[in-house]
């Protein structure tokens, strides 16, 4: 019998701790699948963020380092400069990458470090209980914006970090997708593979932003959370390739 679908080798056969409907499990799998397909298993080093995905090494079957909150790309820079022939990627959330780690994000991209960043945007701080993130939508209620995020003279606008990064010269590839339905999952898979390819070809910094549901914090069913990604988030953060 021909096996047409199986767990990637780079993914451990263990139950995940993520909430039902969370996007992390899907993106973990996509990363592992691309790692297998590009035969990166022996060369890959991941850097895990602070957030729910800090335990990514419990699911991936390759070398991973933790990093302090926001510092994943600095840690990755240290790794990649020492081991330029290894494959190095970070996996970071919106608070990590676009708020506390903004300086590291911009400067790593601007130096054109040959690193790939998988950026999970769930429009909130998930692990700490759903506070406002730089990517929180206007009007979105969070633990720290109980009446909804207001823009002017208050919390400002959702930060378009991927578009900012795409404007930097050291950057080879930026794309945004989501995991809200099977077609989008497939699109995300394609973007991750393209971004990884840029690093293999030594083209410089590459980033894939993934709009990812957080049903627990959003207080929605997994289905409705997926719909919210499509109907609300994707309007503010349009999907597609931003820089190629």
């Amino acid at each position: 019998m021909k096996i047409i679908y199986d767990l990637p080798k780079s993914l451990k056969k263990v139950p995940a701790h993520y909430c039902p409907g969370c996007g992390h499990g899907i993106v973990h799998r996509l990363v592992a699948q691309v790692v297998d397909e590009l035969n990166l298993g022996k060369k890959i080093i991941g850097v895990a963020p602070v957030g729910c995905a800090v335990l990514a090494y419990d699911y991936w079957n390759f070398d991973v380092s933790e990093a302090a909150h926001g510092r994943a790309l600095a840690v990755a820079t240290g790794i990649k400069r020492c081991l330029p022939d290894n494959f190095v990627f970070t996996y970071q959330g919106d608070g990590d990458l676009a708020s506390i780690g903004l300086a590291e994000t911009i400067h790593t991209a601007n130096r054109g470090e040959n690193i790939t960043c998988v950026f999970i945007n769930n429009a909130c701080y998930g692990m700490t209980g759903g506070q406002m993130a730089p990517t929180t939508l206007l009007g979105q209620k969070t633990a720290t914006t109980p009446k909804g995020r207001e823009s002017e003279k208050k919390e400002g606008w959702p930060l378009q970090i991927s578009d900012i990064i795409a404007g930097l010269k050291g950057v080879s590839f930026v794309a945004r997708s989501s995991v809200s339905n099977p077609a989008r999952v497939k699109q995300t898979y394609g973007y991750i593979k393209q971004a990884f390819g840029k690093q293999i070809d030594k083209k410089g910094f590459s980033l894939v932003e993934v709009l990812s549901p957080c049903p627990t914090i959003w207080q929605k069913t997994p289905y409705k959370a997926g719909r919210w990604v499509e109907e609300k988030m994707s309007k503010v953060f349009p999907l597609g390739i931003i820089k190629k």
Partner: protein, 354 residues
């Protein structure tokens, strides 16, 4: 060479493969030296976007088994404390040089010893210590940097060099060694040759295990406590094996002066002057500030009438002297904010308190 340059060259000769730094006075010569020297050796130099980025780049380089270093001065070291805590928690070796300036806040750029508490009590969050080495001159600064790399690799810990601005800025002749100078007890072969080849915990290496993880997160019940206990065992081992000090004319001393770094040089001059007047004074100079050289200080203080601690601070190391000796005959002289206790002040104090 200046102390800053000597420490940089010593790092290169000790096999430092990665350096990241951020500009801050009075340690800029060190960063500039590395910017020129590291590429010559085909090693990595990065001017980071901040001290935070620099220490975390060092974290990454260390995670893949490379000898890595950063340097800064007091306000910048405060910024690095988060990273130092992560290095200690993840048991990653690294060397961090602090060329201390005046504080608190922006302070000034003059010599100071006011980061003693921060350096010797961990400095960042969580239960941890880092070995702290304090050079009193350029030659010793170069040797201690070499030693720091060995200690870092041997114990898998960040190691601090606490050099005051005078040590960083002053010029002295120096004989640089090609290889590690550390021959201290407790440094086994592993310590001296421990480059990436021996670091089987590092990432990105061919190994039998499918996966290496660098972590300081231990979320399961009891896991962190067990990790802390393991670290405690390590700190205790360092405490018993790595106490360093030097003494000057203490054999028959009635009065003992305790000072470290550049201040010890000034005290030494005072000791010489007082000895000419037949006043029996000696100098005890801690070289490792953590672990504090308690065994040697206890020996040195036996039978002396008075102990004077002299610091370029308002009184930090004096607490360790008091903790060590628990006697009432301990006195303190200190100036902060760029003020330096002078030779004449020390001489006058001793004469007044005979």
């Amino acid at each position: 060479m200046t102390g800053n340059e000597a420490m940089a060259e010593s790092a290169v000769r000790s096999g430092c493969q990665f350096y990241a730094g951020y500009p801050i006075t009075p340690q800029n010569e060190l960063t500039a030296y590395m910017a020129k020297r590291m590429p010559e050796e085909k090693r990595v130099f990065i001017q980071a976007e901040s001290e935070l980025a620099a220490i975390n780049m060092v974290y990454g380089a260390s995670a893949v088994g490379r000898r890595a270093m950063t340097s800064s001065s007091s306000p910048g070291i405060s910024l690095k404390q988060e990273g130092i805590s992560y290095l200690a928690g993840s048991e990653l070796p690294a060397v961090i040089i602090n060329v201390v300036r005046g504080g608190p806040g922006l302070g000034n750029i003059a010599s100071a010893q006011s980061d003693y508490f921060q350096a010797t009590r961990g400095g960042g969050h969580g239960d941890y210590y880092t070995p702290v080495l304090a050079p009193a001159g350029v030659q010793e600064a170069s040797e201690l940097v070499s030693c720091a790399f060995d200690l870092a690799d041997f114990y898998r810990t960040p190691v601090l060099i606490l050099a005051d601005a005078i040590v960083g800025q002053m010029m002295e002749p120096v004989t640089l060694k090609a290889q590690s100078a550390a021959k201290q007890r407790g440094l086994a072969k592993g310590g001296r040759t421990a480059h990436s080849a021996r670091k089987d915990w590092a990432l990105g290496k061919k190994k039998k295990k499918p996966q290496n993880i660098i972590r300081s997160l231990f979320i399961k019940e009891g896991a962190l406590e067990a990790h802390n206990q393991k670290l405690l065992t390590k700190w205790n081992k360092i405490k018993s094996q790595q106490q360093r000090h030097s003494t000057y004319k203490i054999k028959d001393a009635d009065y003992l002066i305790v000072a470290y770094g550049s201040q010890a040089r000034i005290v030494q001059a005072a000791v010489d002057s007082l000895r000419k007047e037949k006043i029996k004074v000696g100098l005890f100079r801690p070289i490792s500030l953590w672990p504090y050289p308690v065994k040697a200080l206890k020996r040195a203080a036996k039978g002396v009438k008075k102990i004077l601690v002299v610091e370029q601070s308002l009184g930090q190391m004096v607490e360790d002297v008091k903790l060590t000796l628990a006697t009432k005959n301990i006195y303190f002289m200190g100036r902060a904010g760029g003020g330096i206790p002078q030779e004449t002040e020390i001489i006058n104090w001793i004469k007044k308190n005979l």
